[in-house]
Assembly symmetry: C2
Homo-oligomer: 396 residues x 2
């Protein structure tokens, strides 16, 4: 059958990360490899109550085919939700997608011809790469430091080459946890406007802030140049597969055409449920509970890193989200180290999977703090510190 | 922004059919243009009860991220469902998709490079064309008669050109309502096996049979050469966006990789709900109710056509599904006639939208019988008969 495959399919290689993560289900494994919300963060009581209300309120309409653009009542509820973040859109300007992944896939389908360039921060979100790869882009990498994307590096890339779009996660980035400051956002808004370039701003973690002050999305600073992606996955439940997009009008129109071919529309009952979650004020009520669950875990991880990690490992200082990013000295290889960590019942994601350059990121790793309780996080980081110390001894 | 579009996007033209169907919402319109199940066919009481059970039984797991392949309990429930149709698969061999549309889109993504050929029956399902078009195929058309696809025409096409796959809806086809006989299925199974060709068998209407005997899917006759697509849309509720695929192993593996990039996975709670719908026997209990709703409508349409349509219009004699297909003599143009029918408060879908050749099908139309009650169908067909009579008078 292999001869039947499209040329592009070669780019969609078997998922190496999936193989590596298979061990995380082993008994006793303390996994910092997760990339998902804690199930105890889901508002199950509200889900049960609001699911019944969906049926009472909309009846069969909530289970029928619906518009590709999205379920009207959800699009309306998202208007004030977005306005609170500084994003102006009317209901007709909000499109619903099958998770943010659906939006990333649609964007690549309508914008990317083989060989076209996409500028991504380095490291970048793995799931975006799997959404883009089938459309055979080239990747241009934008350099980052502890403050996230370096605006001068973005300007250099855009001066050098024309790109179909820039892809960034400016807030609590996956994998680094870093957040761009307001001044960097202003510089980036200015750069993309000056270059007439489209920016895809992926913002799934925005509401998961444990300290510091909210920073406005770049979309609010350059509305005509930004495609903004949000999701209910991190503040409600990811299994619903409900995301949303606010895009400049011509892009929005093509996104709808693409989605019609891809999946017709996103699940109607799940959109109806999300609409009630927003309308009832349940999101505002429940969000502090999610924060109250994650914040001590976040703090436990940062404390444990301070206490247990070797001095020549550096790590990010996120103010929210789900991840800390750690980087060791040259010579450290977190892929080969993985099996030794797993032998000690600790798992993480080797950072190289988040780079489009296969030679980059050997000494990096992503650590998740949402899936384990504080004591387990503390113990896991301690063990990982010991494993690292041995690695670095070996490497030296 | 137009300069940013990918080359492929030109193929994804604005949906003309969508424009034409906008009028179907006008007050008093009797629309035979629908392509969707009747909302009164949805088992709302069971949906309410089983939705509560999903939460009791699986809790947060039913709202968490899940495997790209699908929710385990649903895949298990589909094994006996498929076996009853003669399709042998274990749970690992059943993949869940975001409706059949999701499966069509994934198949095109992994198999079609620009210029590759897909063989489709003529006319064919419009939604499949919108799923395939972004991947820039060429279409080869297989001729049909009142019995559906003509096997000799398929053999001729495959002798002449190599194709990535053949796409057919052998049972109660959309748009024609036609069903391939067992003897034609055997011939087709033989042809694709002999040519070593992949057949995509789209089977959404299989369970909606109002008379005659079930015919086994081609998948059961040539299991190694057929990708079988099913959905719960027509026997449960389409808004759930839950479909399923049984494919030869190498194809299945790539379908999973593609889906990971497209939407990660299909809605977990909707899959869980479908699993309980099957497990509880609710589908077997409810299906006769759907048939009892549709069968009189189907009969009303066939009777009204007999009574009211001009003699030089021919139409299909479906044994199930949702559609009848009508064809007039050369000279009839169902697109230009559309506004005159709408003025008389009757809508239908002009048949040319179901042809990949833009010059074909001018004299054809698709008539749906699931959305209106018997009296309205009878009156709508009567009016349409009068409109047609005037058209044919004009044309002669």
């Amino acid at each position: 059958m292999e001869h039947l495959l499209a040329q592009r399919t070669a780019r969609m290689g078997a998922n190496a990360i999936r193989e590596i993560l298979k061990v995380t289900g082993q008994p006793g494994m303390r996994s910092l490899a997760g990339g998902i919300p804690a199930p105890e963060a889901f508002p199950m009581e509200a889900i049960a109550r609001l699911s019944a209300q969906v049926i009472e309120r909309w009846g069969p309409r909530a289970y029928q085919y619906d518009l590709t653009e999205g379920f009207g009542p959800l699009r309306e509820q998202l208007v004030p939700f977005l306005a609170a973040k500084g994003i102006g859109a009317d209901a007709a300007g909000v499109l619903i997608t099958t998770g943010s992944q659906g939006a990333l896939s649609q964007l690549a389908q309508i914008l990317v011809s083989p060989g076209d360039a996409i500028a991504v921060e380095s490291p970048t979100y793995l799931g975006a790469i799997s959404a883009f790869n089938p459309y055979e882009p080239r990747y241009l990498t934008i350099e980052t430091d502890q403050g996230g994307v370096i605006p001068e590096s973005l300007a250099e890339v855009l001066d050098r080459e024309s790109v179909k779009f820039v892809y960034l996660t400016p807030t609590f980035q996956n994998p680094t946890g870093r957040t761009l400051s307001l001044s960097r956002r202003r510089l980036i808004a200015d750069i993309i406007t000056r270059h007439g370039v489209l920016l895809v701003e992926d913002d799934p973690y925005n509401d998961l802030r444990y300290r510091g002050e909210a920073v406005p999305p770049i979309k609010s600073l350059a509305p005509d140049h930004v495609v903004y992606l949000g999701t209910v996955s991190k503040v409600f439940a990811p299994g619903l597969r409900v995301g949303f997009v606010v895009a400049p009008t011509p892009v929005a129109r093509w996104l709808v055409t693409a989605k019609q071919g891809i999946d017709l529309h996103t699940s109607t009952p799940n959109q109806a449920l999300a609409a009630l979650y927003l309308e009832s004020g349940e999101l505002q009520r429940h969000l502090p509970e999610i924060i109250a669950l994650y914040k001590p875990r976040y703090q436990a991880m940062l404390n444990a890193l301070d206490r247990s990690f070797p001095r020549d490992i550096r790590w990010s200082q996120p103010e929210g989200g789900m991840f800390v990013w750690a980087e060791g000295p040259e010579g450290l290889d977190t892929v080969s180290m993985y099996e030794r960590a797993v032998a000690e019942k600790v798992a993480y994601v080797p950072g190289r999977f988040f780079y489009t350059d296969p030679d980059a990121g050997a000494a990096t790793m992503r650590l998740n703090f949402t899936m384990l309780d504080e004591a387990t996080i503390t113990a896991a980081v301690e063990t990982l510190g010991e494993v690292l110390r041995r690695e670095l001894g070996d490497a030296g």
